[in-house]
Symmetry: C2
């Protein structure tokens, strides 16, 4: 099934005509998640042809403006367009107060339930346990409390081999048990080992979103073996001191995290060449880029 990441904004603190502030749209098994929501995100969503009311979960990594100044506008537009279904928002606590204040100032009572889930950015925990995927926080090391998010599919059931279904007359009632891993005993008492009559389900995929952060080794075990890693990289290696002072990473550091975590691919914010030297499966995050996990 589809698991894609679309870069709506590739993380410039100061928006330029080419790069918008941070926002990514993740589609996982037909669910739309929004990661961060810089100013102008709702316009970017509209340009990308995304049906914004399909977004039910929004995750904010930290409260630097370039990661959330577009949130209140999106919440407001969802309201003006007549949304009725729940919207879940995951962020550190003070954001809830800020949104309430803005809604009060405009005397707005939202037409839909906005459900705020306070996040503790200091510890890694599952903050969303959905039937088809989980979202886990990734503690990061930035100037203000910050966490990334790991989105991991849940394993699908085993798949019954088509050739077996064609020859054996398996009653439909047994399908789910076989998919769950049981052997199948046919009407003649013959036992078919599950292993022989099913395929493995597709490998579980995962996406790790790590921004903004200094080089931070504790990230590695949390995102171990993720399929795709997005890691910020604000500086080249020759500015490593600046990176540390500003709690950002260099391209090499980002690539090193990808390498240590055993990521399949990584998506580094800028500074592509340097990152590729360390981790060749690196692509450059640009506004509008859509990556298959």
């Amino acid at each position: 099934m589809d698991f894609t990441v679309t870069i709506l904004g590739s993380g410039a603190a100061i928006p330029t005509t080419e790069r918008n502030p941070s926002a990514q749209l993740v589609e996982v098994r037909n669910n739309l998640l929004l990661l961060d929501c810089g100013e102008g995100t709702q316009m970017q969503l509209r340009k990308s042809g995304v049906r914004i009311q399909k977004i039910n979960h929004i995750f904010i990594s930290h409260l630097h403006g370039d990661h959330y100044f577009g949130l209140i506008g999106l919440i407001n537009t969802m309201h003006l367009l007549g949304r009725s279904q729940e919207l879940h928002l995951y962020a550190i606590q003070p954001l809830e107060e800020l949104i309430k204040m803005q809604l009060e100032l405009s005397r707005t009572t939202l037409l839909y339930p906005l459900i705020f889930h306070p996040v503790d950015p200091e510890i890694s925990s599952v903050i969303l346990d959905h039937a088809q995927f989980t979202v886990t926080t990734i503690p990061l090391n930035h100037r203000v409390p910050t966490c990334g998010f790991l989105i991991r599919e849940k394993p699908e059931k085993r798949r019954i081999r088509k050739d077996f279904l064609k020859t054996a007359r398996v009653p439909v009632a047994f399908f789910d048990r076989i998919k769950d891993g049981e052997d199948y005993t046919d009407e003649n008492g013959h036992v078919h080992l599950n292993q022989l009559i099913t395929h493995d389900p597709p490998q579980v995929k995962s996406y790790a979103y790590c921004t903004d952060t200094a080089y931070y080794q504790p990230v590695v075990p949390v995102i171990k073996d993720c399929t795709l890693l997005y890691h910020e990289a604000t500086f080249m290696e020759d500015k490593a001191a600046d990176a540390r002072a500003k709690f950002h990473s260099t391209a090499k550091e980002a690539a090193s995290i990808a390498l240590q975590a055993g990521a399949k691919n990584s998506d580094v914010d800028g500074l592509l060449r340097e990152a590729k030297e360390v981790f060749p499966e690196t692509v450059l995050a640009e506004d509008g880029l859509k990556v298959e996990v």
Copy 2:
């Protein structure tokens, strides 16, 4: 001298790919003023090639999101770009608290003085008395406390006729007194009447920005004889009841205000044809439109 209005966003509550939320840039005698600041205004300014650090005064009409959600991002960008000179902000009081809260959340101490001027939207008063122009509030009638802004040039001095300067040898020391209206007595004791040796200065121009509001007759005396009027018009006349219920105006109502105020031109937000029937000097406000006052 230049006195222009550029429509950065023409007032859609929900941003579309063609219309941005409200924001207008006014240039008056080489000063840049920003009226309202919807989401994405800083990107619009950048697209228009405006040097944002030249903006020293920002006026917010009311606290509906489409009129101010872009303000905190602009304030932040000015900081990130190293601004040092004062920025003056004119709005109702609660906005100050909101901005402070957002700066605290991101642990930002602005590099420049942000000077907040609380505005009482109930009474018309001069809120900025600049050497070259004044800004006066225009009480409006909307669902939340709202005021418009009237920007009026100050009169220039009289201009000494070039032909007179060529024939009479007027010492430079007398120039200012003649410009202030004094007669000039030459070395032979001959009195030159000021009226004969000077031109009138150019007529004083003014721009009235009225959004958002229901039809509200008390606006008329405040904006009397303005050179250019911008007046919102959200509905056509057949939806007059909706307009009243939502504290917006119809195109005809907007044009009627222009007519009563004796405006030279008016700039009606949308619904052009209907407005033109009442007030022929109406133009349609579209994003990117630049109007000479």
